[in-house]
């Protein structure tokens, strides 16, 4: 009888049970569902569940479950696609415009699993179908845009200060200014630094020449602004698609990856995401009533009727003070404890703002967010491209002082402030982007991939199990249990870390089953060798594990290194392969060295005398 510490066994059993529990939600599968979020960002509650129950019951559309998630969104799960679409049409027609409705799928796992926070693993686009778009942001172009604006503004500032110049030229990231009168160098320097205190100005190689350059930080800031701006703009448009579980994330230095699961019409998505946004600063009409204008459908002369984000109407003057092209930066930060959005305009916008604020102190000013959408429309039997504007007032604030190109918007909540800064940036002069990679996989191909992968996994596993049992008998059975728990651990780890399972990831699991037997085989062959040289059964087991350890450790570490490199350099699906491979290697070392030893103890350890091993 060998001693095997009880705590070790208990720990193992607990780990395995935890693994099974975490992996469990994956075995229930998913059903089609609708995800609703209210336009005014209010959370749903129990009353709204009852309301939707009644609505669906009245229309005789069967559903499986209605629940509210942690973010206050309402989910309705259906038995099939048809019911899902019928449900969507019903809600759209009855409760028009109140909710953003997204087609999605929800786990069928029972309530108690969900309440433990356990969720099935994400499926990659190659398994669920969908679309991957990678945009490249032209960051050099973005810097050029800024330089050109600087050149224009320098000329204007110098003109306004009555400092005559020969030329203002941009070369590389510097701007060279040649003054007509070298005596005015100090004055020019002061004017330019007042325009932008961040730039550095040095004397040029000739008298009367100044060289202004952006600092490294400024260039970097402009580049990351260009990327952030595009990410925000893409996020807005992706959310507007009404698809759940979309992802917009930065990839590498200057790329943005957009994942849209389950969409069929690729051209539609590309078109919607390719919209151009801009801004307009306008004064609010303080005299006429926007409600009257909304009722009659006619705006008074010189004004235009807009809607704010919450739907209330507002009348704005026709004259535009500044546009998004003149916006240099917008950032959110609490200033003196109060949430503040700081806005920076270029010289032209600053001048206009100065004039307007001087004349309109204590009157409200609004910011309009405009998205231009290109649409292909049939007209007289021919297809024509039509630009259509979607306009929305994102901010109305009272002018509290006279200001020009730098000002603050206050009186917001922290959330509103962040949102406003984001939208302002999204509407600034856009850095050009281009699609550099695009992958579309239909939902049917995704399902086929899941089916093929699962079948290959099951059959490969059965073949290896049969071989192990025939070849190693009782020890083979132990190896099978160990291998199965290995797969459970991989699934549990993927679910826990929210990593996506891809098709190559499934291949990784299959390969893991094929190679994870290695550790077991090493141990068993060692035990056989020990028996062959006359060791007693229990001594053979002990020696087998001890002597196989260094080989298992060294060989798995090298395999793990290859996996880690794959993870670092791979992208998308290949990364999914690396993840399952690495988890599989770690899990197989653990299960083979510790798990199978415990099982062998269960089988042989309690007997008083072991004559021979079934190996």
């Amino acid at each position: 009888m060998t001693r095997y510490p009880l705590w070790k066994g208990a720990l193992l059993a607990t780990l395995l049970l935890a693994g099974i529990l975490v992996a469990l939600p994956n075995f229930y599968g998913e059903s089609p569902a609708l995800q609703l979020s209210s336009r005014d960002r209010a959370a749903f509650d129990a009353a709204s569940i009852a309301e939707f129950e009644a609505l669906l019951a009245e229309a005789k559309i069967p559903h499986e479950e209605i629940f509210v998630d942690d973010d206050g969104r309402l989910w309705i799960r259906f038995g099939n696609d048809r019911q899902q679409l019928a449900g969507r049409d019903l809600i759209q027609s009855r409760l028009e415009g109140q909710y953003a409705i997204a087609l999605t799928s929800a786990s069928r796992a029972p309530e108690w699993l969900n309440s433990l926070g356990l969720e099935p693993m994400n499926l990659g686009l190659d398994l669920r179908g969908g679309m991957l778009l990678v945009y490249e942001v032209d960051i050099d172009g973005a810097v050029d845009q800024l330089l050109q604006r600087m050149e224009r503004d320098f000329r204007k500032e110098l003109r306004d200060a009555r400092i005559p110049y020969e030329e203002v030229v941009v070369s590389g990231t510097t701007t060279q200014i040649r003054l007509r009168d070298p005596a005015q160098v100090a004055a020019a320097r002061r004017v330019l630094l007042e325009y932008d205190p961040m730039i550095t100005i040095v004397d040029g190689d000739a008298p009367g020449v100044l060289v202004a350059s952006m600092t490294e930080t400024q260039v970097k800031e402009r580049q990351s602004f260009a990327i952030q701006q595009n990410i925000t703009a893409l996020e807005n448009r992706v959310n507007a698609l009404g698809v759940a579980e979309t992802v917009v994330q930065r990839q590498g230095q200057n790329r943005i990856a957009v994942q849209v699961p389950g969409v069929q019409d690729a051209s539609e998505v590309v078109r919607l995401l390719g919209k151009v946004a801009t801004l307009e600063f306008r004064l609010v009409d303080p005299v006429n009533s926007p409600l009257d204008a909304e009722r009659t459908g006619r705006a008074p002369l010189g004004t235009k009727l807009y809607k704010q984000r919450d739907g209330t109407p507002v009348l704005l003057k026709r004259d535009v003070i500044a546009t998004g092209e003149q916006l240099i930066d917008a950032s959110f930060a609490p200033s003196q404890g109060e949430p503040t959005v700081s806005v920076k305009l270029d010289s032209r916008g600053g001048d206009e703002m100065l004039r307007t604020t001087r004349e309109n102190l204590n009157r409200p000013m609004a910011v309009v967010f405009i998205e231009k959408e290109r649409e292909l429309v049939e007209r007289d039997g021919r297809k024509v491209i039509v630009d259509r504007d979607k306009e929305e007032v994102i901010s109305v604030a009272t002018i509290r002082g006279v200001f020009s190109n730098n000002f603050q918007i206050t009186g917001l909540s922290a959330m509103e402030g962040t949102e406003l800064a984001k939208l302002l940036r999204a509407g600034a002069l856009a850095a050009p982007i281009a699609i550099v990679e695009q992958r579309v996989i239909s939902a049917t191909l995704g399902q086929d991939n899941i089916d093929d992968g699962t079948r290959a996994l099951l059959i490969a596993a059965v073949a290896i199990y049969l071989f192990m049992i025939v070849y190693y008998k009782v020890f083979g059975v132990i190896a099978c249990i160990v291998l199965t728990s290995n797969v459970v651990f991989i699934v549990a780890a993927l679910s826990l870390f929210d990593a996506a399972l891809t098709l190559p990831g499934m291949a990784g699991i299959i390969l893991t089953v094929g190679t994870a037997v290695d550790a077991n085989i090493l141990i068993y062959e060692r035990i056989r060798e020990e028996i062959a040289v006359g060791a007693s059964p229990m001594a053979a087991i002990s020696a087998g594990f001890d002597k196989a350890f260094s080989a298992i450790a060294d060989s798995n570490v090298t395999m793990l290194m290859a996996g880690a490199v794959l993870f670092l350099f791979g992208s998308g699906p290949v990364r999914g392969f690396a993840v399952t491979l690495c988890i599989g290697i770690v899990a197989s070392m653990f299960t083979a060295l510790i798990g199978s030893r415990a099982l062998i103890h269960v089988v042989y350890g309690r007997r008083r005398r072991v004559e021979r091993l079934a190996i």
């Binding site: 190659d126 695009q438 190559p504 299959i510 390969l511 060989s555 290859a562």
Partner: protein, 311 residues
């Protein structure tokens, strides 16, 4: 007890190493020659361009597909069956990136004249800047892995073994790449992943043998390095065959049942497992022996300092 090898065999691997070298050098040269002569069947991942996968309701005649595409004004395209005779893969060269979507719509309207039920299952569009980067990353990944392996083996064993495993494991992806070129398997990102896995697998296999060599050098003090290495390889041969068999069967099931997307990946892995097993058994130990591996490599270091102080 069922055993492949009833008793530990005593094959004299090392005595015959000249022949293994000739064989290895020959297949490596042949592999490189094949890759250069036939070229790799690079997919859009590395060339840039657009690939469409289309499923038809019934088997479709490639000639009719070509006729339909010609009529729709597609110039430079490639068409092949993908997996079955009712599925197609159409490949177009890199175009203006934004235009890819429009191409898909045009392609499908051309193909629906042949079969109204044709379904576009997959579109991959890769711009030239991405494909170049993917290629560079793949090459860098292979080099990184080799370097890491060399360092690790050199630390855990001795540098002679590090070089032995490096030579053996470099040999494997080269030969596998040659086989991929010979069979015309589409070379995509998944195949690169397979090559790296082959590298990992081959080293894994080699390390198991080296581990036994290390052990035997300690226990067989009197034996020559050649005998020790032969003994270690023979003792682990049973395990080597079983593990290779298990890994091979799992990737073969994947190749047959896992669908067209993963077929190239699975076949590449299968080739790699065979060649990786060969190189671990025949090449890795031999190189270490050639470089003068001996029991001294695994003994505690001699105290040289005292000797040096003598007059």
């Amino acid at each position: 007890m069922i055993e492949f090898l009833k008793q530990v065999p005593s094959i004299r691997f090392m005595a015959l190493r000249k022949y293994w070298y000739i064989l290895s050098v020959a297949i490596v040269i042949a592999s490189i020659a094949i890759v250069f002569m036939r070229g790799l069947n690079l997919t859009v991942d590395f060339t840039g361009g657009v690939v469409f996968e289309i499923a038809f309701g019934e088997p479709v005649d490639l000639e009719r597909v070509r006729a339909a595409l010609d009529e729709a004004g597609f110039g430079d395209y490639q068409v092949r069956n993908f997996g079955s005779s009712s599925e197609l893969e159409v490949r177009l060269p890199p175009a203006e990136t934004g235009a890819a979507v429009g191409q898909g719509d045009r392609l499908m309207s051309a193909l629906r004249t042949l079969d109204p039920g044709a379904e576009l299952r997959r579109t991959d569009t890769v711009g030239p800047q991405v494909s170049r980067q993917l290629g560079e990353q793949a090459a860098l990944a292979v080099l990184m892995t080799l370097l890491l392996v060399l360092v690790y083996i050199a630390l855990r064993f001795r540098w002679r073994f590090g070089v032995g495993s490096l030579v053996a494991s470099m040999h494997d992806p080269i030969v596998a790449t040659g086989a991929i070129a010979l069979l015309g398997i589409p070379f995509d990102l998944n195949v690169v992943a397979a090559l790296l896995t082959i590298l990992g697998y081959s080293v894994n296999d080699t390390v198991v043998i080296f581990d036994r060599i290390r052990e035997r050098f300690r226990s067989m003090r009197k034996a020559s390095p050649e005998e020790v290495i032969d003994r270690a390889i023979n003792e682990t041969l049973g395990r080597t065959i079983i593990v290779a068999g298990c890994a091979l069967s799992s990737v073969l099931f994947l190749a047959v049942l896992g669908g067209e997307t993963l077929r190239g990946f699975a076949v590449a892995l299968a080739i790699g497992i065979v060649i990786g097993t060969y190189s671990s058994v025949y090449v890795a130990g031999a190189i270490a022996l050639e470089l003068g591996a001996s029991a001294r490599d695994f003994m505690p270091p001699e105290k040289r300092g005292e000797v040096d102080e003598l007059p």
